[in-house]
Symmetry: C2
Subunit: 345 residues, 2 copies
């Protein structure tokens, strides 16, 4: 089959690789209907040291079950399924607590022996625990929205849940990428009445306003902070959903959070240390939370509104490529020409 | 009257100063029955640059109302009262949210025009909002326990509340000072079944075991972390209550917290930056919370058990000094000869 391999920064290729096969009785093999490129895929695209062997890439896909192992009991060939970006048994104590990203027997795509989502097919370990069936046909127009449940919608929702967003909390979302926009949609779902979206790309913040943002702030740094404070009577917001991952976004979060508030990070931090002392987090009793989203925990909850068309998170996809065009898709996202690229193998 | 003035690191003196007087109609003047020396008073005792004018010091006291301003309606001369370590109106939005340390009109003892607790008397601003009446006599044997509601008991409780301690969470308390021991008592109050106390001073950890700790770990650093992991099946605890404030304690907290868990800090951080990146906080979805405790929010809740003798937090005081002996009290706490020093003016 064809699969995407990254060999180092800027070096993404689509190549022939062996077809995935069942290795464990708990495995399934899933043919990919739709995959996509994630903002976090751009980190290795920027930083990965060159390696001769390369690594498969991609961690978001919806597909059709092709084969199941003898121990798989909840799925059958032909089922359309959503794959979360981490695979998990869904039964261990961490999974029962909703922290599937720390599953005792789970793991992440592109680990040794497990392929990536930007491919024609994928071997899925722990298929019963990992995959969520979607009652749609292979050609459903809902596929792009269902695909957001693989990562970005669940990730935005995780940011909002960990921040404790509710009808009484004001919200700032930092970042107008797909996760930031999904954080807006999630804050809206949880009832927030003021949702300020900080982002520089008008087409994206316009979509954010449609998803439920009440204000868009294009300014960054001190100027952006002043704008948010102006919109909140000087106080900042109860919650800040940080969907970027760079230090500038962390500093911006400190600047716009209200005393007693929460900074919830889902942008993968590209820094090791950050200010957490008396003047920043401690004195005003700010909580710092977040992490990789256990999206598996949220799929059943978010799925009905997607199936009923009440929300259309698939609107974050503004470009579609074939598998062989994936390298061009990376370039388009890296150049900020595309918000999020859908892949149709 | 006599009051304690700090002139710089290691330089604490008791001197004659003008008696406090009512300055605002919302003020009260309170004669101090009992005050004490706080672990956090040791920070200026170590670091304060020498100043010729000095500053009053002390932020914990119980006393008797001597005089009230014309707008004070809930107190009368003769009332025995508990003073939280921050004064507050108890009516603004932050106070109503339980964040009295961020009160819009409040402040902290030893600010200009407001004295400190290690004195014969104190001018109390916003007396109706700040002071909590205790239905006891001036010579009550409960005074030491009531005094802990000024700071250390409420601070330990804040750590536990912000961490979300409940009957299903395991707890590590880092630090066997008065706040650490009060964090143990608080975790016990909230129903935690495993409470591991990390501290090196056997007399203190023994008191911690009486307060409800299930295990005491004397080792520090990697050795201490290994011990806590051994006691928790390798996982660490759901919550870590950090009552020290040094970087070593932060690192220890990272080492003993379970994935998805919470590090709740109430030790005033003596550092500006700390690890918060993927391998430390983000990857395992660790939450970092805490700050100066809004103890005013907790006094009414914690008071009944103290009055009924169900808990005896006053046992943290292991030495009593007169006001003129306060400098010796600082030395005893700094030398770790005393756990916490009670002051009887």
């Amino acid at each position: 089959m064809r699969a995407t391999i990254i060999y180092g920064a800027g070096d993404v290729r689509v190549e022939n690789v062996p077809d995935p096969v069942l290795q464990q009785p708990t495995d399934a093999v899933v043919r990919v209907l739709r995959a996509c490129i994630c903002g976090s895929d751009l980190h290795p695209y920027h930083n990965m040291p060159a390696t001769p062997e390369g690594s498969t890439i991609g961690h978001e896909f919806v597909g059709v079950v092709e084969e199941i192992g003898s121990d798989v009991s909840t799925l059958k060939p032909g089922d359309v399924v959503i794959a979360p970006f981490a695979w998990s048994d869904n039964t261990c104590d961490f999974c029962r607590e909703g922290l599937h990203t720390s599953c005792r027997t789970g793991g992440f795509w592109n680990a040794p022996g497990v392929g990536g989502g930007q491919a024609e097919a994928v071997r899925v370990p722990l298929a019963d625990g990992t995959l969520v069936k979607a009652p749609v046909a292979e050609d459903s127009p809902l596929l792009p929205s269902l695909l957001t449940l693989s990562d970005v919608y669940g990730t935005g929702y995780h940011a909002a849940i960990k921040a404790g967003v509710n009808p009484r909390t004001t919200v700032t979302v930092i970042g107008d990428g797909a996760v930031g926009l999904m954080a807006v949609l999630s804050a809206k779902r949880l009832g927030a009445e003021q949702i300020i979206l900080m982002g520089r790309h008008k087409a994206r913040t316009d979509l954010g306003l449609e998803f439920g943002a009440t204000d868009a702030v294009a300014e960054r740094g001190e100027e952006g902070i002043a704008k948010v404070r102006e919109l909140t009577g000087g106080d900042g917001t109860h919650t800040v959903l940080e969907a970027v991952g760079y230090m500038e976004a962390y500093d911006q979060a400190l600047g716009v959070v209200r005393p007693g508030g929460v900074i919830s990070r889902v942008g993968v931090p590209q820094y090791a240390d950050a200010p957490v002392g008396f003047p920043t987090l401690f004195g005003p009793n700010i909580t710092l939370t977040g992490g990789p989203a256990p999206v598996r925990a949220y799929i059943e909850e978010l799925l009905p509104d997607v199936l009923e068309g009440k929300v259309d998170p698939g609107r974050v996809f503004d470009r579609t490529v074939s598998l062989d065009e994936v390298p061009a898709g990376y370039k388009a996202m890296d150049d900020r020409e595309a918000l999020k690229v859908l892949v149709r193998p």
